[in-house]
C-alpha cells in the first residue's frame, strides 16, 4: 500500500468482524486515507479515539458485549468529549430511530450508513469525507424507506419528480452544492427547488445543512 499523504484523513475503525474491518480498511487505504487503529469493541474504540485524535471514527452500531446499541452510545460519547472526531455509524439494518438519535445529539460531523452500501466505494468514501468536514451523511436506503411509506393523502404527491430528487438528497445530508453536482444543475436552481419543496411541505427553511437534514427526516417520518 502506498504511504498516505501528510494531509490524509486519519480513521479509527471499530467493528467486531475482522473481515469487515479488513475490507473497509483496504477500501479507505485505496482512497488515500490512513487507518490509524482498528478495534473490535467500544472500550478499544474510545481508547483509540482518545489516543489518536482521528478525523473520523467508523463504528459498527452493534458490538460486544450486548450487540445492541453499543456503537451508538460510543458515538454520543465521542461527539460530546472530542468534537474534532466525526463519527460514521454502520448498521446492517435501517433503523430510523437510531439515525435520528445520532443526528439529534450533534450539530454535524455524523453519518449513518447501511453496511451493504460500504462496497459502493465512491459513495462511501464521499460520505466519510463529508462527515470529516463537519457535514452529515444519511444512507439513501433510509431515505428511500421513509419515502416509500404509503399514505392515503400523501403530501409528497404535490412534488414534481425533480423536487422529490432534491428532497431525497437533502434528507441524505447533501449541501446545495452537492445536490447541484449530483443533479447536473446550477446551485442557483437547487436553491429554487429547495425553497419550493420546503414551501409546499411547510418545512421551516434552515441554512444549516445538518438542521435541514433533521427537519426533513422528521417531516418524512411523521407525514
Amino acid at each position: 500500500m502506498e504511504p498516505s499523504a501528510p494531509n490524509a484523513l486519519r480513521v479509527v475503525l471499530a467493528d467486531d468482524s475482522a473481515l469487515i474491518r479488513e475490507g473497509v480498511a483496504r477500501l479507505l487505504g485505496a482512497a488515500g486515507m490512513e487507518v490509524v487503529a482498528e478495534t473490535h469493541d467500544t472500550v478499544g474504540l474510545l481508547a483509540a479515539v482518545q489516543r489518536e485524535h482521528p478525523d473520523v471514527a467508523i463504528v459498527d452500531i452493534r458490538m460486544p458485549p450486548t450487540f445492541a446499541l453499543e456503537g451508538l452510545e460510543a458515538a454520543h460519547r465521542i461527539r460530546a468529549n472530542q468534537p474534532s472526531t466525526a463519527v460514521l455509524l454502520l448498521s446492517t439494518y435501517v433503523v430510523v430511530e437510531d439515525a435520528m438519535d445520532l443526528l439529534s445529539s450533534s450539530s454535524g460531523g455524523v453519518g449513518y450508513l447501511l453496511k451493504d452500501n460500504v462496497s459502493n466505494a465512491d459513495e462511501f468514501v464521499a460520505a466519510v469525507r463529508r462527515v470529516a468536514a463537519g457535514g452529515t451523511a444519511i444512507d439513501s436506503s433510509l431515505v428511500t424507506e421513509l419515502f416509500s411509506r404509503q399514505r392515503r393523502l400523501d403530501p409528497l404527491a404535490q412534488l414534481t419528480p425533480r423536487e422529490r430528487d432534491v428532497l431525497a438528497l437533502m434528507a441524505q445530508g447533501r449541501s446545495n452544492a452537492g445536490i447541484a453536482g449530483e443533479l447536473w444543475v446550477t446551485e442557483g436552481s437547487v436553491e429554487k427547488y429547495v425553497k419550493s419543496v420546503l414551501g409546499k411541505l411547510g418545512i421551516e427553511p434552515d441554512h444549516h445543512d445538518h438542521r435541514r437534514v433533521l427537519a426533513v427526516l422528521t417531516y418524512l417520518e411523521n407525514r
Partner: protein, 365 residues
C-alpha cells in the same frame, strides 16, 4: 291426606320413643308453628345451623332468623317464602337447593322439604333438611376438574399447533434461503470465476462481469436482511415495540394510520413485546394479502398491567381463525401469553382484530 298418615305413625309409638328417633335422625328436622315460630329442632338441625343449645332457636320467628336472605346477600321477604306458604296451601314442598342462615350470619346450602301438619285450628310445618356443603364442594371439584381437563387438552392442542407452526416457519425459511440467497451466492461465485478468466483473456469485459456479480450480491444481501428481519427484527430488541411497529407500518403496502399510546420509552418484557409484534405483523400481513383495504389503523396502548392493540381495516371482511391460518397461530401465541384475541370480521367488513396481553405473564401449567 298426607298429614293424616304422619299423625298415624306418631300415635303408633310412645312420644318418648318418637323424640329419641327424631333426635337420632341423621337428617335435620325442625318444626314451625302456625304463627311462624320455631317450636322444635333436633340436634342435627341445631348443628347445621350453628346453635350449641337448640333452645336458643326455639320460640324465634323462623323466617327472619334462619331464612331472611338469599345466597347473594339480598333480602328474602317472608311473603315470598314458599316454605311457610305450605301452612296455607297445605301441600308438601321439596326444594333442591336453598340457603339457610347460621347463627353467626353465614349461609349454609341446603335441600329441604316442608310438610304441613295440624296445629290447633291452623297449619304448622315440619321442615327436614340436609346440609349440601359437602355435595357442593364435590360438585365444584368435579366441575373444576372437568374444566382443567378441557383446559389441559386445549393447552396440549395449542402446543402442538405452535410446534407445527414453528416447524412450518423453519421449512419456509430454509426454502427461502435455498431459493434466494444461496442460489444468488452460487451465481456470484460462478461470475467471479468468469471474471478471473476474463482478467487473463479479455480484460475489457472483466468490469462488466464483476458488476453483474455485485448486483447479484446486493440482491442476496437484501434477501438475507429481509429474512433475518422476519425471524426477529433487530429494532424490536434494541428499541422496543413502538419503533418496531412504526417500522412495520412504513413497509406496508396498505397505508397505515398509527395510534401509539405508549408510556414513554418504557420497555415491556421481551416475550410480551414479541407476542404483540408478531400478532400485529400477522394481522397486517392478512390485510395486505386478503382484505383489499385502502386503509388500516393500528392502535397500541399500554397500561400498567397490560398492553392492548387493535388492527382495523376498511377491506372486504370475512377473516376468520381457521385451522392452520395465520390468525390461528396468532391466537395460540396470545393464549400462551395469557391474553385474549378477538376477530370480528363480518362479510363486507370492516375487520376488527383486538387483543390484550398481560404484562406480568402468569405462570400456567
Amino acid at each position: 291426606m298426607a298429614m293424616q298418615s304422619n299423625s298415624t305413625i306418631a300415635v303408633a309409638v310412645d312420644s318418648e320413643t318418637l323424640l329419641r328417633v327424631i333426635a337420632t335422625a341423621a337428617d335435620a328436622l325442625y318444626v314451625v308453628d302456625r304463627e311462624g315460630f320455631v317450636r322444635f329442632l333436633n340436634p342435627a338441625a341445631a348443628g347445621i345451623l350453628g346453635y350449641v343449645d337448640p333452645a336458643d332457636l326455639v320460640g324465634r320467628p323462623s323466617h327472619t332468623t334462619i331464612h331472611y336472605k338469599h345466597a347473594d346477600g339480598s333480602a328474602f321477604p317472608v311473603e315470598d317464602c314458599p316454605m311457610l306458604r305450605v301452612r296455607t296451601t297445605g301441600e308438601t314442598l321439596h326444594v333442591e337447593e336453598d340457603w339457610f342462615v347460621r347463627r353467626d350470619g353465614s349461609l349454609v346450602p341446603v335441600a329441604y322439604s316442608s310438610a304441613p301438619f295440624p296445629d290447633g285450628d291452623g297449619w304448622g310445618t315440619v321442615i327436614t333438611f340436609r346440609d349440601l356443603t359437602e355435595r357442593r364442594r364435590l360438585d365444584e371439584a368435579a366441575r373444576r376438574e372437568a374444566l382443567e381437563r378441557a383446559h389441559a387438552e386445549e393447552v396440549r392442542r395449542s402446543r402442538r399447533r405452535i410446534a407445527e407452526a414453528s416447524d412450518a416457519a423453519r421449512k419456509r425459511i430454509e426454502r427461502n434461503i435455498h431459493d434466494g440467497a444461496q442460489q444468488r451466492l452460487i451465481a456470484v461465485s460462478l461470475r467471479l470465476e468468469e471474471a478471473r478468466a476474463a482478467a487473463r483473456d479479455d480484460p475489457d469485459s472483466t468490469t462488466a462481469v464483476i458488476d453483474s456479480a455485485r448486483r447479484q450480491l446486493r440482491l442476496a444481501l437484501e434477501e438475507l436482511r429481509e429474512l433475518a428481519r422476519g425471524i426477529h427484527p433487530t429494532v424490536l430488541t434494541t428499541r422496543g415495540l413502538g419503533p418496531a411497529v412504526r417500522s412495520m407500518a412504513r413497509r406496508s403496502s396498505v397505508p397505515v394510520d398509527l395510534d401509539l399510546r405508549l408510556q414513554g420509552d418504557r420497555r415491556l418484557p421481551l416475550a410480551v413485546e414479541a407476542c404483540a409484534y408478531f400478532v400485529i405483523a400477522e394481522a397486517l400481513t392478512n390485510v395486505q394479502r386478503h382484505a383489499r383495504a385502502s386503509q388500516v389503523t393500528i392502535r397500541l396502548e399500554e397500561s400498567a398491567e397490560s398492553v392492548s392493540f387493535s388492527i382495523v381495516d376498511d377491506g372486504v371482511g370475512g377473516a376468520s381463525i381457521g385451522p392452520g391460518s395465520g390468525l390461528s397461530g396468532a391466537r395460540d401465541r396470545v393464549d400462551a401469553a395469557g391474553g385474549t384475541l378477538v376477530v370480528d370480521s363480518p362479510t363486507a367488513g370492516p375487520t376488527v382484530i383486538t387483543a390484550s396481553l398481560p404484562i406480568a405473564v402468569p405462570v400456567t401449567g
